[in-house]
């Protein structure tokens, strides 16, 4: 017996003990004990009443994860994460535990974002979502309309119960369990998320948003989203919460998988605004997310739009595998970092099919002491006859202590492919600011104005209601960065 094997068995025995203790206290508590081991995963699966195959999936992922090491290649100064010091499953809060009133600072931000009063309460966790009449009715009317078209849009747990075969078919088909460290972790412990299936030839009549979904507010840090667009279908999906969430937990490792079949069209928009930490760089969410889509059939189209303003550390690369001939993909991104925030974000476009096309527009804005990096890969495989890519990455610097970095990687193995990348870095010019000031626009408003103009190309891709909030969000995020 080799040493590793021995250690594993010892660990197993050790963790069993922990489980027994955990089991005893579990009845009284709303959450599982801290730490991560196979028994915790079994408990999560049991609490969620999952089928055997999903438990096996989780355990398989966990065993893979144990053998992996946390990657270090990001241009990030990452604090060490103690994976045994995290609670991996917490039941939704009971009404008695909720705060009685909104934190005044949070209220101030809501005010600036123009979020309706009723929604503010929900977002701050003062009331349970299901207590808000409007949301319930909105959600149910949505459901009815969607069901008529055969569209499935529900929580991940619900999908596992009611559409097990579909979930099983597509789960981990785009992001394999062992894809990377955080994807493996997510596969082992994911709490909930969204599942969306658009049947053949159906055009989704409305923008789907996890914001409106009842269970979305209670989902934890390890959500799993799976979107499947069958042949010729069309959907626009909006993710994320558009208001700041104060979150006690530090780690957020989600996985998003998107399958786009022949001639289908998926538009995925995110406005990410998790808690970025305070102005001294203390606290904040570590946002380590794996997002990937595959254009499976010919003529498939996937478009990513993201506005990243939150999180202490953002590390994510929404990617597309262009497998189908003549499929296409776009990536539009605005990433704003202020104070001590760090972002290492970008995209990967893997061209496999003939005549595949991709476009990348990335706008980075750094202020304060923040570090903002674009990292992208454009890969043309030998079979990608006539593939085409254009990438444009701009960085805007506000203040002398921040950094902006660009790390593109272009690999071409087909003579007929054309790949172009360009990047620029500059700062807001004194002249622009002076012009605005002279006309009575205060320095902060002027910066907001200039930044919005700079990011307009991306913001204009967002669905209407997101775009308005995103613009305000840019302004809020950059507060205090000038003068």
């Amino acid at each position: 017996m080799d040493r590793n094997e021995e250690n594993r068995i010892i660990n197993d025995i050790a963790s069993q003990k922990e489980y027994r203790e955990g089991f005893v206290t579990e009845v009284d508590q709303e959450y599982l004990p801290k730490g991560l081991n196979e028994d915790i995963i079994r408990r999560i699966s049991q609490l969620k009443d999952e089928p055997e195959w999903l438990l096996e999936f989780r355990l398989g992922a966990f065993r893979r994860w144990e053998k992996m090491e946390q990657p270090q290649w990001g241009h990030l100064d990452m604090p060490p994460i103690d994976y045994q010091d995290i609670i991996y499953y917490a039941a939704p809060k009971k009404n008695a535990d909720r705060p009685k009133e909104i934190d005044p600072k949070l209220a101030e931000t809501f005010e600036k974002l123009g979020i309706p009063v009723k929604e503010r309460d929900v977002l701050a966790g003062v009331v349970a979502v299901d207590a808000v009449f409007d949301s319930v009715s909105v959600a149910t009317t949505f459901r009815k309309t969607l069901a008529e078209k055969g569209i499935i849009f529900c929580s991940f747990s619900e999908a596992v119960r009611e559409h097990g075969d579909l979930v099983r078919k597509y789960l981990a088909s785009v992001v394999p369990v062992g894809d990377n460290y955080f994807a493996a972790l997510n596969s082992a412990v994911f709490s909930d998320g969204s599942f969306c299936y658009i049947p053949k030839g159906v055009k989704c009549p409305m923008e789907l948003s996890s914001y409106f979904r009842i269970n979305a507010a209670g989902t934890g840090q390890f959500e799993r989203t799976l979107i499947v667009a069958d042949e010729g279908s069309q959907v626009s999906y909006m993710e994320g919460c558009t208001a700041p969430m104060r979150d006690e937990n530090q780690l957020h490792a989600a996985v998003v998988e998107i399958v786009v079949e022949k001639d289908a069209d998926v538009k995925y928009s995110t406005v990410q605004n998790w808690y970025p930490g305070d102005s001294n760089g203390k606290g904040g969410i570590l946002n380590l997310v794996t997002k990937r889509g595959i254009c499976k059939g010919s003529g498939a189209h996937l478009s990513w739009t993201q506005v990243e303003t939150g999180s202490a550390i953002t590390w994510k690369y929404p990617s597309t595998i262009l497998k189908g001939d003549y499929s296409s993909s776009e990536f539009y991104s605005v990433a704003v970092t202020n104070n001590f925030q760090q972002a290492d974000t970008g995209t990967k476009m893997i061209h496999i099919g003939r005549g595949t096309r991709s476009r990348i527009i990335s706008k980075g804005i750094s202020a304060g002491h923040s570090q903002n990096s674009y990292r992208g890969l454009v890969q043309i495989l030998p079979g990608a006859e006539g593939a085409r890519n254009h990438s444009q990455c701009d960085s805007l610097l506000i203040g002398k202590d921040c950094g902006a970095h660009t790390f593109p990687d272009i690999r071409s193995a087909n003579p007929s492919a054309v790949v172009e990348h360009e990047a620029t870095t500059s700062k807001i010019s004194e002249d622009e600011l002076f012009y605005c000031n002279q006309r009575g626009i205060a320095p902060e408003d002027a910066v907001g104005l200039i930044v919005n103009g700079y990011a307009k190309e991306v913001l204009s891709r967002l669905p209407m209601e997101f775009a308005v909030e995103a613009q305000k969000l840019l302004q809020v995020s950059l507060e205090g960065s000038v003068g």
Binding site: H75, I380, P382, S395, L397, I398, G399, K400, D401, C402, G403, A404, H405, T406, F407, P408, D409, I410, R411, S412, A413, N414, P415, S416, A417, V418, V419, E420, H421, E422, A423, T424, T425, S426, K427
Partner: protein, 206 residues
């Protein structure tokens, strides 16, 4: 070997240059067909107003392995760097370009430019390019660009419709593709000699 270095600073170690205040470093590289090359240059711009220009042409039509690795560190104010590398890969050549520009905190009024254009002519040739910008100062003008593509069919058609044979048309396209790099050579005699060599090499590639 046809590298010509017109530099004031001398390399501290092979391929490792330190350029001080007001000094200028000018390097040109020509990678011939059939030649495996591993070019590594590191330049530290340590004094105000230092400047560096790196330029290179690579023509690889067999099974060559060409690797170009440049690192430029802007460590003082008002320095400029300018890089231009154009090359053609054919046969089963593998070309990789890695260019890193680092602008240190406080290195204001920096201007840093970097361009890498590639043409791939055959199915088996491979090109990887990784231009990297790391900027820690705000008063800067920096840009980089990289392309990988093929010869333009419209241009070829234009020439052929005017009686230029196909092969000659391709030669002209390839020469014009690398011509901007040759213009970086300051000495006219040197420039002409190199241009003649480049033309000869291109004709042999087809």
């Amino acid at each position: 070997m046809k590298d010509q270095g017109h530099y004031i600073a001398s390399p501290a170690a092979p391929g490792d240059y330190v350029v001080g205040a007001g000094e200028k470093l000018d390097l040109f590289y020509f990678v011939h067909p059939g030649e495996d090359r591993d070019i590594r240059v590191r330049v530290h711009l340590t004094g105000p107003g230092a400047s560096v220009s790196l330029a290179g042409v690579y023509l690889s039509g067999g099974s060559e392995k060409v690797s170009i690795h440049t690192e430029i560190y802007h460590e003082a104010q008002g320095c400029t760097s300018d890089q231009l590398f154009n090359g053609i890969a054919s046969g089963s050549a593998a070309v990789s370009f890695y260019g890193r520009i680092v602008v240190a905190p406080g290195a204001d009024r920096t201007e840093a430019y970097q361009v890498n254009h590639n043409i791939v002519l055959s199915d088996k040739a491979k090109v990887d390019t990784r231009p990297q910008l790391e900027i820690y100062a705000d008063d800067v003008k920096c840009s980089h660009g990289a392309t990988v593509g093929s010869l333009n069919a419209d241009e070829e058609f234009y020439m052929r419709s005017r009686g230029i044979p196909q092969k000659e048309a391709k030669v002209l396209q390839m020469i014009s593709f690398v011509a901007p790099v040759l213009e970086r050579i300051a000495d006219p005699g040197e420039r002409e000699r190199t241009a003649a060599e480049v033309e000869e090499a291109i004709r042999k590639m087809l």
